[in-house]
Symmetry: D2
Subunit: 162 residues, 4 copies
């Protein structure tokens, strides 16, 4: 069965608006990345929202949760802003039991050349195929259980709580 | 314990010689890729050789095998040219029993901008952390057991034998 | 004699701060660009300031003017934010008579992969070597006299006033 | 009047064939480069051939010459392999009198990320607009008269004969 990818936005999909110099969302770049990686894993991509994760509300998280519950796939990747990735993971962990869900993102927008997005996506796709049911964050080449991870605000890297 | 990465060359590390227009090897780009991916997994990188896999000899494969046996790590990634990746995998499978070894590579050199190398490396790092002992090929977002994979010469993609 | 390049900032040199998601200035990328272009023209690069041109004050423009007057070179390139490039050009035109000064910039930061900066820099270097004394803006493959150019805010392109 | 651009191939337009690891020509990338540079100069692009300049014959050069003579534009850019760029320039210089023709190229293919092509194209477009009638080579930020330039095979850079 295919792997479901839910797009929610985050740095991953931000672009530079050359008319006003601001960062914004236009469309997801997931398809381009998978093509660049010559991906042959069967995936279904659904864009749920394109927002900065600092602006993600409880209602948004509930929408993501409902999609994770109702989709037929049991392997799910969620692309997500890094700042509140662990909050969304917590909501999912409390409500989804029989699926493998991997949240991933990027520190640099995919469109900006030196992005970590392709590396993280490659890792997320591998982890979702091999990890047992559960909710995980995959960043920096590593995977973390949802209840033992935080983003270190000083370094921008993800690490265990203990 | 750290993950061991053995570099053998392949398209992954090829560069363009602007003086004569030919492709050649100068040095591995693994370190740059891991930095780009903001990798935080502990790795030890050893360059065993930098050759096109079509020119890899039995002696070369034996050298790779000996390194896989003698290194203390039980999680190993080998970057390798795609053309004979499965041959090397076979040699390893017949002689290494208690380690997880993942061979990966790229269809486009890392230095050429539109490379799949970062995606494959992200996948290989994830697979080697999660798959049980055995010899695997990781390409195109997928992993294959060493005895059920071939490179399709027409498409350049890896696929199961059956 | 060498060509003098004065760096003032602008989109050209903006970078993405991966810790807070904001654009900022760290250092100029002029040296990298000239290396990428395999430039062999003798240049002297001086960073006068690294600011967004919307924040450029009369005092800043006066500092640029004094540098243009006092430097020994008579061929000068100024990298500058596009929004007020023509204002600075006007100040220079009223006070510098015996030099060729070319202002240029970029719509996309050099670090963001799809930048027009390398194209504009190649053009500016060529124009400054070939145009007679005067103050010019070089953008979009074209050059404009300082008193017949504006940035079209809707399209982001530079065009003649009449 | 528009500027005519004649494409002849060269490193500029080479691509990497991921199925056999060889470099080849598929199509010109001039349109992509001009779009990247947000070019607003009116140009007409004609692909005359897509070959390595080491394989360019007298017949090929004659074809280029006839096109330069018969086209209505008097400002012409020719993208050309660097190895025999000066030979073609000589043929043109002996037969075209009332036009400005600028030959340019690249040391690294445009598709390979770290190319000098965008820089050289920006320079060539500027030089062709400003130089008097004559035949020139524009590389490395500089322009050379056709009869006072050679490619230094050791450094890959263009330089005066004396």
């Amino acid at each position: 069965m295919a792997i479901r990818i839910f797009v929610t936005g985050g740095t991953f999909d931000k672009e530079y608006n050359e008319l006003n110099g601001e960062l914004y969302f236009k469309d997801t770049h997931l398809h381009d990345l998978l093509e660049l990686g010559r991906n042959k894993v069967s995936v279904v991509i659904t864009t749920l929202m394109l927002i900065d994760s600092l602006e993600m509300t409880g209602k948004d998280r509930d929408a993501i949760l409902q999609q994770c519950i109702s989709c037929s796939e049991d392997k799910i990747i969620i692309t997500h802003g890094t700042d509140t990735m662990t909050e969304t993971a917590k909501v999912l962990a409390e409500n989804v039991k029989n699926k493998t869900i991997v949240l991933t993102g990027a520190m640099i927008p995919i469109k900006f050349g030196s992005s970590d997005g392709l590396f993280n996506l490659g890792g997320a796709l591998a982890f979702v195929q091999t990890l047992p049911h559960g909710i995980y964050v995959a960043m920096n080449g590593r995977y973390f259980n949802w209840d033992n991870v935080r983003k270190n605000k000083l370094t921008g890297r993800f690490e265990e709580l203990k």
